[in-house]
């Protein structure tokens, strides 16, 4: 990671959720505006960068895509530590995947408290007719845990841009609030994440872009 001059926010965001809910698809739609329903399962975390300019503020997002299945759960902490934001993805046609989101919320709250901005994404709304996760339940749950909730379809490119944009805005707000309290209390709430990411993605993820 190269630049971290003053005025640029470097945020780390992690995508978490059950296998096959569409984490990789959301990311590829957002970064490359591509969709492929036959891409391979993610077996190890990879990351892509996105540079944004929001109201004149430069933001560099490092978005980590993780492997979803239970087996890989133990690797989670490595990727969510030092994260400024987490996107918890579930599949609206798969109730279990929503249960998995709840587990992740619990774990993140326990490990990171309110240092991390949570966003929940109900993906695959192109399959609305197969929905099994009730709309109200998902939204009220998100409300209860203080997370934004978005409906997305990586396939139809719905809600994806909005999701990342809203998350980024909230992360900036959170950062500025913290900076404020920092000044007031001269305590050490350090949210600036300008250290190098802990690991580099493998050769196969070399096609990052912005």
């Amino acid at each position: 990671m190269a630049t971290a001059p003053s005025g640029t926010h470097n945020f780390k965001v992690v995508l978490l959720g059950e296998g096959c809910v569409g984490k990789t698809s959301l990311l590829l739609r957002y970064i490359e505006d591509k969709f492929n329903d036959k891409h391979l399962t993610t077996l190890q975390a990879t990351f892509l960068n996105k540079r944004l300019n929001i109201n004149g503020k430069r933001v560099n997002l490092s978005i980590w895509d993780t492997a979803g299945q239970e087996k890989f759960h133990a690797l989670g902490p490595i990727y969510y530590r030092n994260s400024n934001g987490a996107i918890l993805v579930y599949d609206i046609t798969d109730e279990d995947s929503f249960g998995k989101v709840k587990n992740w919320v619990k774990e993140l709250k326990k490990m990171l408290g309110s240092d991390i901005v949570l966003t929940i994404a109900g993906n695959k709304i192109d399959l609305e007719h197969e929905r099994t996760v009730p709309l109200e339940e998902a939204e009220s749950y998100a409300n209860m845990v203080g997370a934004q909730h978005f409906y997305t379809s990586a396939k139809l490119n719905q809600g994806v841009e909005e999701l990342f944009l809203d998350l980024t805005r909230t992360m900036i707000e959170r950062y500025e609030q913290n900076a404020q309290t920092d000044v007031n209390r001269t305590s050490q709430v350090v949210v600036v994440d300008d250290e190098a990411p802990p690991t580099q993605s493998s050769c196969c993820s070399g096609n990052r872009s912005n």
């Binding site: 990671m1 190269a2 630049t3 971290a4 001059p5 003053s6 640029t8 296998g19 096959c20 329903d37 036959k38 891409h39 391979l40 399962t41 077996l43 190890q44 975390a45 960068n49 540079r51 300019n53 430069r58 492997a67 979803g68 299945q69 239970e70 087996k71 890989f72 133990a74 690797l75 490595i78 300008d194 190098a196 802990p198 690991t199 580099q200 993605s201 493998s202 050769c203 196969c204 070399g206 990052r208 872009s209 912005n210």
Partner: protein
């Protein structure tokens, strides 16, 4: 890490195409928001480019010679900006990046992990030789700009280096300058069989395969041997009976859970396994002809049957993502569901610990990899450590699937 005092960087570009007079363009960009992709689109517009091109940036080498280094990634671009910035500081001038656009692609440089379709071992070596010329300038670059070059570039170069080193190490038997031996052929394989079809020298057979691979047409037969499908010392006739018996066992096991589904007696375990497997077989190697086409491709159903049967009959392992990657080439090669199942069972006898929830086997493999790296390339290891990447987690998939996804399907 680096702060740029200037927001804009001047860019001077020279476009070279064959013997044509080079074209020149100048513009300015903001290095903070200019990615390689953005830069490329600017150049396409600036020169009205309609074909492939390669990009390099001007810098000087240790002897003050002007050279152009390839600009292949955002990391390279960051390095170029930084270089310009540093020069501007020392010369108290405006930062300026000088680029060159060449209207021809680097030969095969982008597809570095797609080896030519030779046998696995052969292609490994071919590849490392082939890569040398394209990699060399990049390595040159890292040495010169140690502190500045992008992290990814560094890793890629070092991985190549280590890879070449390991490849050479693996071929110590032969003269490393010679190509490895050709793949095991039908005639050679027959020579390993005695009159009743017993394999006479298993370890020699493995050595030959290790050094040269197997002719693809023989894989169907020989893979069963190297996967230890058969108990030792069987004659050809015994093997045929054995595999027939095992195949029937498989059909029995498969019928069991299929019956349950038909009678609507689906317990939680069966539902979980079939759900997981179905999700994964639909996205396993679908680019391969064998699994291509619509989702009701019969081969996908076979892959589903194999994995479901395996998971239900090996409850401690069950199903875990990655296993479909292992089963897929077995089914393609065997062309028979039952045989592929038998091979998967044999393969998993060796690999199942990779997929256990405790992760101990993977931890052990990582510690072996770490130790090897410390011995073979301590500099690289120390570099990774300084970047907090010494956990080597970026190798997880390599180890989990034994490189299955890192090579072209037929070579893996």
């Amino acid at each position: 890490m680096f702060g740029y005092s200037k927001e804009a960087v001047r860019v001077k570009v020279k476009k070279c195409e064959g013997k044509l007079q080079p074209e020149l363009r100048k513009f300015s960009v903001d290095p903070q928001i200019t990615s390689l992709e953005v830069l490329q689109s600017i150049l396409v517009k600036a020169f009205d480019i309609k074909s492939d091109f390669t990009l390099s940036f001007r810098t000087t080498d240790d002897y003050g010679q002007e050279i152009y280094l390839p600009l292949l990634s955002d990391w390279d671009l960051d390095a170029a900006f930084l270089k310009a910035h540093n020069i501007a500081l020392t010369q108290k001038s405006e930062p300026c990046v000088q680029l060159r656009v060449d209207m021809r692609p680097f030969a095969e440089a982008s597809e570095d992990w797609e080896p030519p379709s030779v046998s696995p071992a052969a292609s490994m070596v071919n590849q490392s030789y082939k890569e040398q010329p394209t990699i060399a300038p990049a390595q040159h670059q890292t040495e010169k700009q140690e502190t500045q070059t992008g992290f990814q570039g560094m890793i890629m170069n070092q991985v190549e280096k280590t890879f070449n080193m390991v490849t050479r190490a693996l071929n110590l038997y032969d003269d490393p300058n010679n190509a490895p031996r050709p793949p095991l052929s039908d005639i050679e394989f027959r020579a390993f069989l005695d009159a009743v079809g017993q394999i006479t020298n298993t370890s020699k057979l493995r050595e030959v395969i290790y050094c040269g691979g197997i002719d693809p047409s023989l894989r169907k037969v020989v893979w069963k041997h190297i996967l230890n499908v058969y108990p030792d010392g069987m004659t050809g006739k015994e093997r045929m009976d054995y595999i027939k018996r095992k195949a029937n066992e498989y059909y029995g096991l498969r019928a069991k859970w299929k019956d349950c589904i038909q009678k609507g007696m689906v317990n939680a375990d069966l539902a979980y396994v079939t759900g997981m497997v179905r999700k994964d077989v639909l996205r396993t190697d679908r680019h391969h002809n064998f699994y291509a086409g619509s989702d009701d491709n019969q081969n996908i159903a076979s892959l589903f049957n194999i994995l479901t049967t395996y998971a239900l009959n090996h409850p401690t392992v069950s199903y875990c993502q990655g296993m479909s990657d292992l089963a897929s080439p077995l089914l393609v090669t065997m062309g028979d569901e039952a045989h592929a199942y038998i091979c998967l069972c044999a393969l998993m006898t060796r690999l199942y610990p990779n997929f256990l929830l405790d992760g101990e086997a993977m931890t052990l493999k990582f510690s072996h990899l770490t130790e090897s790296l410390q011995v073979y390339d301590p500099d690289f290891y120390n570099y990774l450590k300084s970047q907090q990447a010494d956990d080597l987690l970026f190798c997880y998939r390599w180890l989990l699937l034994e490189m299955k996804r890192e090579f072209a399907f037929d070579d893996a």
